[in-house]
């Protein structure tokens, strides 16, 4: 076994990433020597902070092909999704009250849309195929005269499936409907350009791209069309009135730095993650039978592997690989005690959802970590299958779908 890996191993970069040390270094002075409030107009500390925020605004804008004035800072992707969707819904309520989304979105989008449903809006939930992708013709058919917003994510957080964002954006613009894209997982993993993709509103967060937690951004298009939002938070009129509250200057500097690093290094980062993810995938699929990859294999984030180990329950597998931090679609690991709603939306049987594990690679993972992880996972799955009555039945030739289970 490898001696050159430090335990525990962090392989849950889709949940959050460690900060890049360069990001931390950029942030530090803004806690201490440079304490200004970016809204203070009367002294050098305030001007200093305002200048730092504007630099960060440019850094974020440059990464996604926007202009600095189109970037709003806020607390993260959850707030960004809320402001984009509720803000547009309220602003354009006179035009219509119809929104289009999809059941595999993050809860920050789903529950926001559901809230609007209780407030008299109507939401069409586009179905997804077995890969987790919507069909463009379904989307075209769903758009009506009273449709004001389409909200679809760029990359799914559980399975990494990519939607065809450029085609969705083109369709929305052709039909005169606003397009909000939750790009939280896609930023830094695939090229995102709000002009080429015709995105009107884009949500992102710092803590998935090696920046700090508690800071995110919303891109709001200013031309063709100019998008207006009704604010959710009233107060001192910060961020052009769209998001009041003293700016989190260290966080914003960190988000800006994280974006600047990506602008320089993203392609190297992506290749690193893809190489490690593919290596892990090959080792796991070669080492075990009855494994299946969830989501799309062809249209997928380069750093993510969601895989089901049939006949082994996910939480028990997590226990067996306790030195490796990953997540599972098993009901036992969720607060709701339901298996992953994303995997269910793909039509995956619950049994395979219970058996699913998400590995998400990042900038700081190493090949040695991947090799160690593959060895440990293969051994743990084998051990648990020796203990699994389902695996035994399958070996005996029993068709599990024909068994009369005594469920509770």
């Amino acid at each position: 076994m490898n001696n050159d890996v430090r335990l525990p191993i962090y392989m849950d970069n889709s949940a959050t990433t460690p900060c890049d040390p360069r990001v931390v270094e950029a942030m530090l002075p803004w806690f201490t020597q440079r304490p200004g409030n970016a809204a203070s107009r009367s002294h050098v500390f305030g001007w200093d902070a305002e200048e730092a925020v504007n630099v960060a605004r440019k850094q974020v804008a440059d990464l996604i092909g926007a202009s600095a004035k189109e970037i709003l800072f806020l607390s993260g992707a959850t707030e960004s999704d809320n402001l984009a969707i509720k803000g547009a819904a309220h602003m354009y309520a006179k035009k219509g009250k119809h929104i289009i989304s999809c059941p595999t979105e993050h809860k920050a989008v789903i529950d926001t849309c559901k809230r609007l449903e209780t407030d008299g809006y109507e939401v069409t939930w586009l179905p997804v195929d077995g890969d987790g992708r919507i069909s463009l013709s379904d989307l075209a058919d769903a758009i009506r005269d009273d449709t004001i917003l389409v909200t679809l994510m760029a990359a799914n957080n559980e399975i990494g499936t990519l939607h065809d964002v450029a085609a969705i954006g083109a369709l929305c613009h052709e039909k005169g409907v606003l397009f909000h894209c939750d790009a939280t997982q896609a930023i830094g993993k695939i090229d995102i350009d709000v002009e080429a993709m015709q995105i009107d509103l884009l949500s992102m967060t710092a803590h998935k791209i090696y920046g700090p937690k508690g800071c995110g951004a919303l891109y709001v298009r200013r031309r063709n069309p100019r998008v207006r939002l009704t604010p959710l938070i009233d107060g001192g009129g910060h961020e052009r009135g769209m998001r009041s509250g003293t700016l989190n200057v260290p966080g914003i500097v960190g988000l800006g730095k994280a974006c600047a690093i990506l602008s320089d290094e993203m392609h190297r980062d992506v290749e690193h993650c893809r190489r490690l993810r593919d290596r892990l995938e090959v080792k796991l699929t070669a080492g075990l039978d009855h494994v299946s990859i969830n989501g799309s294999v062809d249209h997928r984030l380069p750093n993510l592997l969601n895989i089901s180990f049939a006949y082994v329950e996910g939480e028990s597998l997590l226990m067996g690989i306790k030195d490796i931090a990953v997540s599972s679609g098993s009901a036992c690991t969720s607060a709701s005690l339901e298996p992953s709603y994303v995997l269910r939306a793909l039509g995956l049987e619950d049994e395979l959802a219970h058996s699913s594990i998400r590995f998400s690679l990042g900038r700081f993972n190493t090949e040695a970590e991947v090799d160690y992880t593959a060895e440990i996972v293969v051994a743990a799955v084998r051990r648990l299958r020796e203990m699994s009555p389902l695996y035994e039945m399958v070996q005996e030739g029993v068709d599990l779908s024909k068994v009369q289970w005594q469920a509770h």
Partner: protein, 138 residues
């Protein structure tokens, strides 16, 4: 979720994993739960028909660590007991022994069901074999 030391111990060193010959008249087999619910337990007992004592027990479980621990503990507890004594084991005993949190109580319920179901299976088999014997001795 944090597991109790006892759950971790049973998970790492499960007692009595395996299978007994389910076609034997002295073996009772219980299979409870369902794959779509995330747990299936198979518990088997071997009984000495002259004394009614459970001489061996084995399990296989698909489920979380607490489900594995509950069934492992169940096999430990039933061994050496008579069939009727084994029926007095309740899920509460298992919850206490393993310090299971409320969300894991269903694992203990499943283990109790597995014991009952295995005993029921054994009793059915005995009835089936004893009747022809009685018929022969008449």
């Amino acid at each position: 979720m944090a597991y109790s030391d006892k759950v971790i111990d049973h998970y790492n060193h499960p007692r009595n994993v395996g299978s007994l010959d389910k076609s034997s008249d002295n073996v009772g087999t219980g299979v409870v739960g369902a794959p779509e619910c995330g747990d299936v337990m198979k518990l088997q007992i071997e009984v000495d028909p002259t004394t009614g004592t459970i001489t061996d027990a084995k399990f296989k479980t698909y489920g979380c660590g607490s489900a594995i621990a509950s069934s492992s503990l169940a096999t430990e507890w039933v061994k050496g007991k008579t069939v009727d004594e084994a029926l007095t084991i309740t899920n509460k005993d298992i919850v206490e022994e393993l310090s299971l949190p409320p969300v894991k109580i269903h694992c203990s319920v499943l283990a109790e069901d597995a014991i009952r179901s295995a005993i029921e299976d054994y009793k059915k088999k005995r009835e089936a074999t004893e009747q022809p014997q009685q018929a022969a001795s008449e």
